[in-house]
Amino acid sequence: MSWFRKPSSTPLWQDEFPVFTADERYVNRRQFTKFLTLTSLAMFAGNLWILARSLFHRSPSYPRQPVAAAGEMEVGGVKMFAYPTAQDPCILVRTGSDSYVAYSQKCTHLSCAVYYEKDQNRLECPCHQGFFSVADGSVLQGPPQRALPRVALEMKGGQLTAVGMDGESA
């Protein structure tokens, strides 16, 4: 038993371009079904591509970059910087006397710049009213589905240094 159609005695061009309207309905339906199946194959290929990317993923290396000096900002203060490249704006917030957090400033919804809302102690995206927690960058409210990528910080010798990114797919 063959997988697909029986070998036809008529030439392919006669098979695919029938004379009778009744036969044409079958050809149209079969060709449309073939198109849908090929679209399904494309979706499967997309999933395989994601699988290959996740299996062969290498952790990117990030540079060490001084961000701010200790005491440079007041508690609740904010400083903008770019990390890991000049095209990646980030926001640094001093949340306590000895605690700092930094996140990518690009909203995970449509990449608008988020800013720190001191009164509510949260990060806000003004474009579509998306709100993120200052504590961990998680979504509090609004259309974003993913948390803000967090910048890993290190305090050494009175200097705050960015050393990497968490929660970002490279």
Partner: protein, 78 residues
């Protein structure tokens, strides 16, 4: 007694198969977008089940296409 004219034989079955394929395709498109969203969020563990389910959906679509192809062949070649 079968009142269906000969030129309509199998058309209902083909239409039913096409509807099923469209439904499977919608599920597969949603699955791809959900897997991509998870991957971009750093949840790489979603990639394996996403690929497996997508393979199953593609196999089902291929089976339905084979069904349509066979009906077309059987009816038009007698």
């Amino acid at each position: 007694m079968n009142t269906n004219p000969p030129q309509n034989r199998g058309v209902t079955a083909i239409d039913g198969a096409m509807v099923l394929i469209v439904i499977l395709l919608i599920v597969q498109i949603w699955l791809l977008s959900a897997t991509l969203e998870s991957y971009l969020a750093g949840h790489r563990e979603a990639a394996v089940p996403g690929a497996i389910i997508s393979a199953i959906l593609f196999a089902a679509c291929l089976g339905l296409y084979r069904f349509v192809d066979r009906i077309d062949s059987d009816i038009r070649q007698g």
